[in-house]
Amino acid sequence: MSTTTTRDATRPAPAKVSKTKPRRGMGGSTFNFWLFTGPFLIGLVIFVYIPIGWSAWLSFFEARYTVTPDKFIGFDNYKLMLTNGDFTKSLVTFTVFAAIIVPVTWALSLGLALMVHRLRFMKAFFRSVFFLPTACSFVAASLIWKMSIFSGVRFGMMNTVLGWFGVENIAWLANPNPPWYWLVIVTVRLWLQAGFYMILFLAALQNIPPELYEAAAIDGAKPGWQTFRYITLPQLRATSTAVILLLLVAAYQAFDEFFNLLSKTTWGRPPLVELYYTALGDDQDYGAGSAGAVILTLLICMVTMLQGRFLGFGRGDGSK
């Protein structure tokens, strides 16, 4: 049925415009908007924006054992954080961590997505299996890794397996040389987050038009690596960029597994752990901790913008 021929005939009469003046006060949609977003907005202000502002303010004060200081010290806290070595060392730790975890998680989640995408049976089951670890907390997973899988005693799971091959027990977390602790930290995070990024890649894979593969096949492209290299991977560029950005931000925020797996160490402290110890753990120096938080925030913003510039995050499809 053509709609164009009947449209005029069926068009309803224009609604009668009310001649009464609009009532004062909030309109219905405005009221509903504030009703539903208001509480969250208040929460955002109270729990995010005020603390950020307060932290920036604290960073210019001598704030030991107090968050309401009165001694202004200018940029001394910034100087302290950038010169005491521990905070800058934590940035190196982060760089090592990010250099391992970002590409490995990217590759693993993409690999899982490709595998699950091509499955012809039990697809939902395998998606769930790989995604489920996302629901586990970092603290719980870290404790399982520490006390069960990578325990240094003879009945730790990894040591048991290594024992079958005659390898002596390894103290995975106590000994920094060789740095086996990276294996523990990286594997726990991989297990926890690979499933989430797999879902993102799955969604992107499902959006690739099958006609592209058909056309490629007609043009003689071999299925497998050639198709993946020249069709799948370029089509996943936007998702890959987003995944890498999310992974990098998540790496900056790494705390739980480092805190729970490495206690009383001077190594393996990413920035958030270092700031935690500065502000809460030992020193109770909220001024220095806040200065470190401001430095870290600026650094994250800078890296994110640079990454966006180089990888093209946010550009439209036409700019690919």
């Binding site: 009310s18 609009p22 009532r23 006060g25 909030m26 309109g27 219905g28 949609s29 009221f31 509903n32 009703l35 539903f36 509480p39 030991r64 054992y65 107090t66 968050v67 520490k146 006390m147 069960s148 990578f150 325990s151 240094g152 005693v153 003879r154 730790g156 002596e168 103290a171 995975w172 977390l173 106590a174 000994n175 920094p176 040389n177 206690s263 009383k264 160490t265 001077t266 190594w267 935690y276 110890y277 809460l280 753990g281 030992d282 020193d283 109770q284």
Partner: protein
């Protein structure tokens, strides 16, 4: 109501708004559990913080004592995990800070006005407390905190295992290292100093004839003997004879009880569990001498009750502390002896404690008396960490002990300057 409608405060929208607010009610309630609701017969409430003790029955005991207090409703926060300090420190900055809390005597808390002096409640019984406990809680003649328990820490060992290996009780740090080597088999490690090896750092310094700080509150731990002792520690760490990365740390008796190690550093609190599991096949000895002429060492840890000086009910909190930790001797004895073994800091209670009069507990009390060293109130959290980092850097990471001690000196001196100018 249509989103395009001009009408707003009609009956249906009011009902929806009410329903929305009602839905938010439970959420508000979730965030409102400060532990201050209700009250005792007087309607007043107090909050107390305790770290989670490992001994079974302790949490119930503390809650039972609190419930027996008639003047206020006392709510207990039993804090699990290893972040008791962090939670306490952050809570003390807020309006939801505990009124009373357990901790160790530390000068920075007094200097920053976080804890109240308790002379008025302690004065009548001051002479009944272990003088060392009173000294470790005193600043400028005022006493801060009431000691609840003394916890000597020493080495436990399996007598039969040492006998079988022909190993005597180590008298020096070198002998301890040799014993660890001889006792190590493919199934059992010779020695457990804790997973990160920091639990013995005080004892190591004392046994090397040094101290954390001297009487003038200057660094006293940085000596040649301490550096030499750290090298022995490093040798032990790299030898493969130490138990590392055990599922439970030094404070838990399981490493010795489960046969993972022949010798373990632990506290007297674990003695009942160890005796139950191992019977008479259990001995104890202090941290052996680590330098020529230096005495062995026992760290007398423990916990004290403090009153938050910035709390809303300081007087009531002091009354509660007086009631529980000064007047109620039956609870103090129960707390010290019914779960793990602790030494009561009150002489009158310690003297009547029959459980500590014979056998291994009596040996523990003797080590406490002969070699026990107490907390130095000027040795604060930041300094504790600085010394722990010496262990991390020089023992576990292989840094030259002198360099590791130099690094600690910088941090400790910075802290000392802040505290004493």
């Amino acid at each position: 109501m249509s989103a395009l409608s001009n009408s707003n405060w009609d009956r249906r929208s009011v009902l929806r708004a009410a329903a929305g607010l009602a839905a938010l009610g439970p959420l508000a309630a979730c965030g409102g559990n400060t532990g201050r609701e209700g009250g005792g017969s007087s309607g007043k409430g107090l909050v107390q913080y305790f770290h989670a003790y490992g001994e079974a029955g302790t949490q119930e005991a503390i809650k039972r004592y609190a419930k027996a207090y008639d003047e206020a409703r006392v709510t207990t926060q039993w804090i699990t995990g290893n972040n008791f300090e962090s939670k306490l420190f952050s809570a003390l900055l807020t309006d939801n800070a505990p009124d009373v809390f357990e901790f160790h005597p530390q000068l920075q808390m007094i200097k920053s006005g976080q804890v109240a002096p308790l002379d008025d409640i302690i004065a009548p019984v001051k002479d009944d407390f272990n003088p060392a406990d009173i000294k470790s809680h005193t600043v400028d003649g005022k006493v801060y905190g009431v000691r609840m328990i003394d916890d000597p820490q020493f080495f436990y060992y399996r007598k039969s295992v040492l006998e079988k290996a022909g190993v005597g009780v180590p008298q020096t740090l070198e002998e301890l290292a040799e014993a660890a080597e001889k006792l190590t088999t493919d199934k059992v490690k010779g020695l457990f100093l804790g997973n990160n090896m920091v639990s013995t750092n005080y004892a190591l310094v004392w046994a090397a004839g040094a101290d954390q700080l001297n009487d003038k509150n200057e660094i006293a731990y940085h000596t040649d003997d301490v550096a030499a002792a750290l090298k022995v520690y490093r040798k032990m760490f790299t030898s493969g004879h130490l138990l590392l990365d055990a599922p439970a740390d030094y404070w838990d008796p399981s490493a010795l009880v489960q046969g993972l190690t022949a010798i373990q550093w632990c506290g007297m609190w674990a003695m009942p569990v160890m005796q139950k599991a191992l019977g008479d096949d259990l001995g104890i000895f202090p941290f052996p001498s680590a330098a020529s002429g230096a005495k062995p060492a026992v760290y007398n840890g423990g916990w004290s009750m403090f009153v938050n000086a910035k709390g809303k009910n300081v007087d009531l909190a002091k009354e509660y502390v007086k009631w529980l930790w000064i007047d109620q001797k039956k609870y103090q004895e129960d707390w010290a002896l019914s779960y793990g073994f602790h030494i009561p800091p009150r002489t009158s209670i310690a003297e009547s404690a029959t459980k500590l009069k014979s056998g291994l507990p009596a040996e523990g009390v003797k080590l406490f008396t002969d070699y026990g060293r107490f907390d130095n109130i000027s040795w604060t959290q930041a300094m504790i960490t600085a010394l722990e980092e010496v262990i991390a850097n020089s023992v576990r990471k292989g840094m030259d002990p002198e360099k590791a001690l130099d690094a600690a000196d910088k941090k400790v001196n910075l802290e000392l300057k802040k505290l004493f100018g």
